[in-house]
Amino acid sequence: MSIRYTRRDSLKSLAALGAAAASPLAFAQKPLTIGVIYVGPRDDYGYNQAQAEAAALVKKMPGMKVVEEENVPETAAVQKTMTGMIAQDGATLLFPTSFGYFDPHMLVVAQKYPDIRFAHCGGMWTEGKHPKNTASYFGYIDECQYLNGVIAGHMSKSKKLGFIAAKPIPQVLRNINAFTMGARSVDPKIVTTVIFTGDWSMPVKEAEATNSLADQGVDVFTMHVDSPKVIVETAAKRGKMVCGYHASQAKLAPQAYLTGAEWNWLTAYMTFIDAAKAGKPHPNFVRGGLKEGFVKMSPYGPAVGDAAKKMADGIKAQMVADKFDLFKGPLKDNKGATVIAAGKTFKQTDIELEKMNYLVEGVVGSAS
């Protein structure tokens, strides 16, 4: 992330220095306007809501203005939205939150507006390939899914777990694998069955998938879809247990909700906002897990046993202390091939993990 000083930048720094020197107390600076773009509704109890919660907290901060737009499809429309936020609303830091906004839409707009900062959720910012005013942030929520798996492993009586996912993309596969490995660390006989619904938001298919899995004897569910509401409610109706994702769905099924993997996007947002406010260079590749506070776990539900809590808390402490590695060899996939050789360990920050294309042993389902 090399620093590229233009005359404008030097003028800005001089001005900032001058202002700082002039008044010891930073008096009301011009408000920083940020724009947040959602692919779905803000209150979906899921992905978009997690982002919106962070945006809502930012709105309350002094000197911050937030413009939001929801239900923006991943087409030229989002380019128009971004340009509108810049040209009409004066936003200088944009958060396009859906994966599909990255290429080509955000890159196109970023090239046209080199002074505006863009922070994309989930993308893979690469040095040399992508412009310096863009960035990507994401959280290692697979750590939380691992803990979900540990709890699920303890609480499951049938030893059959269910995972309902949208599409077999690396971020999703990583979650499925983490969940399964967490559960199998409790009991190696546990099996996770995966159903892919085909798209991020398909309420009827998600309900059908939940019912199918419940028919097969699955008694703990988790998911990776945009809005977990339907799955949580359907599982609860069938008397099964559920681990949440994205945000807390505990209110929907207080008895059935064990715990959940949640985002804590405010941490990521503040990284970019602080850099923008201080005039520092835009951080291009931002990642973090439990340790950095990018993700968090929901409080345990009433059904979780003490042994489960103890084990999960123990592992969580290790993760926070950077002493726990999820992906290490020897690791076999569910077709029998070895995907991580014995002795090899991947740190969470390893880029290799973001290309995951396999499902580990113990998962019933296919990644392609």
Partner: protein, 347 residues
Amino acid sequence: MIVLLPAFAIAAALLVFGVIVAFAGVSPVDVWTLLFKGAFGDWYSWQNTLQRSAPLMLTALCVALPAQAGLVIIGGEGALVLGGLGCAAFAQLVPLPANIVGTVMVCIAGAMAGAAWIALAGALRQWRGINETISSLLLAYIAIGLFKHLVEGVLRDPASLNKPSTHALPDGMLISGIGGSDVHWGFVIGVVACILFALWLRWTPSGFSLRVVGGNPRTAQLVGLPATKLVLLACALGGACAGTAGAIEVAAVHTNANASLVAGYGYAGILVAFIARQQPIAIVPVAILFGGFGAAGSLLQRRLGLPDASVLLLQGIAFVFILASEALRGTDWLAFWRKVFGIEVAA
């Protein structure tokens, strides 16, 4: 009258919409100002509007052209999606020059894919008597399923990890903005297509024959026009337009074919065509109107905090009113007002 009636209908719809948002605590005047500003207020808005109208012109033609032959085709979405797939797949499987020649060729590939799909609906009608509205709708769903299956499967670019898509088109093949603006050349293609088809229908024998087949099947039969061939031609041409729209979306906006291509342009095109009374030349302003609504909606959300569904609601109200206003077409307004005011008609 042709323009006045729809204009009044839109005005009435804006009024009703203003009343509805007033209940939500928003000032109707603010809403109207922003609607205008967002659609036509400045150069930025105009670009937004025109950009959004581009695919709609072509998908509307997919409804209007078969309509001239008496068919009601609503499967443009399927043709568009397959057109995009055809474009991306062709570029992937066949070595093509990375310049305008390549662009033209992939667009033709897309057009052909779309044409085949809608012609299938036409063929099912001619040889099996299946209602083309239903068959084109079913084919649209089937096309979308096939598209998703192929994009995530065989045609998937292995590097497109978190968003399954086909391989990207080489840079030289992409369609750029007109003169550096945000509006891509697809807009021009749409307008030109509408004009050409309008001329074809009006001034050429084949266009005329098509209209006879659609307007008066008995006469067509008596005169011995090759109805089946003309029906298939109309379907193929309509499908080609929708397929081209898909290819343009890939080449101008997405650079590859992926699930975001399924954006509802086909369905919006149906309404555009009907409001334009299936006349290609009227499709241009109606598509721009639609584009304007979409462009304005963005601003309503950001400035007034109105839900994004507000624009959908406005569109629904506007189009219901416009369609209803059709019934008033042909009224003798002079006599009507005279009667209202009790003015004697000169004997």
